[in-house]
Amino acid sequence: MSGDPPVLSNVVYDDLVVDRRMGPFEETVSADVAAGLAAEIGRPHPVDEAPPAVFPVLFLKALRRAMGGIPPGSILAKQELEFHRALPVDSAVSIETWIGNKEVKRERPFVTIEFDIRDAGGARVVTGRKVIIWPTGPGEEAPE
């Protein structure tokens, strides 16, 4: 990865294309990140395998890279995770993501984003999805 993606995205709901694949994005689950999510957040606890809280973080990292930032004002409504294989800390993973569905319900735009996380050997580690209420207001400029 050459530099961080922007902080906030300006992608609007109408521009989201169902089934268009994004990635794979490469990430490394460092011992520090795993430790930071193994106990109370911000109070690191060393572990040998990635704790479950690592995977929503990987979802967010992939979302930020896929969308050129996090959609400002987006709200997480639902999340599903399927655990296929343990992941030792300091492992590299690749994450593919795509829009699984988009629909307006009760005048709010709901977007389902699918994730497929694989280890360096290509084996599935975690798959899942999140349903986000997409922001409807104008995009915001990323802070400096």
């Binding site: 990140v33 809280a53 973080v57 709200i75 999340q79």
Partner: protein
């Protein structure tokens, strides 16, 4: 199987510091989580935590119950975020139902509840036995 009293109901105290720590870990600097002015102007009227911060007490409870750092392969977790969690909240995971499936997995339903008794997160999970 009746509700297992040995399931630990872990409590997380949510602070702006651990919301900020989660933003750093995840790269999610959504203004709803880190910008008091923007959050105050939103429908929530102030800062709310990232959804997974509210879910965290479930993951901590489940891994403590299993006695492992990770969830075993074959496990599934489904989460509904029901209400916002704010700095100063204390979120406790409460087990509601527990049953054993034919394949040996534990099927459970749990809620993450704040100090006012409001369910902020509901979880349905199938946890595979260790070594499966």
């Amino acid at each position: 199987m009746s509700v297992d009293r040995d399931f630990p109901g872990v409590t997380d105290r949510v602070t702006q510091d651990n919301i900020d720590a989660y933003a750093e870990l995840s790269g999610d600097f959504n203004p709803l989580h880190v910008d008091p002015e923007a959050a105050a102007a939103s429908e929530f009227g102030g800062i709310i935590a990232h959804g997974p911060v509210a879910l965290h007490s479930f993951f901590r409870s489940a891994t403590a119950w299993l006695g492992t750092a990770a969830l075993p392969p074959g496990s599934k977790v489904s989460v509904v975020y029901r209400a916002p969690t704010r700095p100063g909240d204390e979120v406790t995971c409460e087990l509601r139902e527990l049953a054993e499936l034919d394949d040996g997995r534990a099927a459970l339903q749990a809620d993450c509840v704040n100090q006012d008794g409001t369910t902020v997160v509901s979880v349905t999970a199938e946890l595979a036995p260790l070594g499966a």
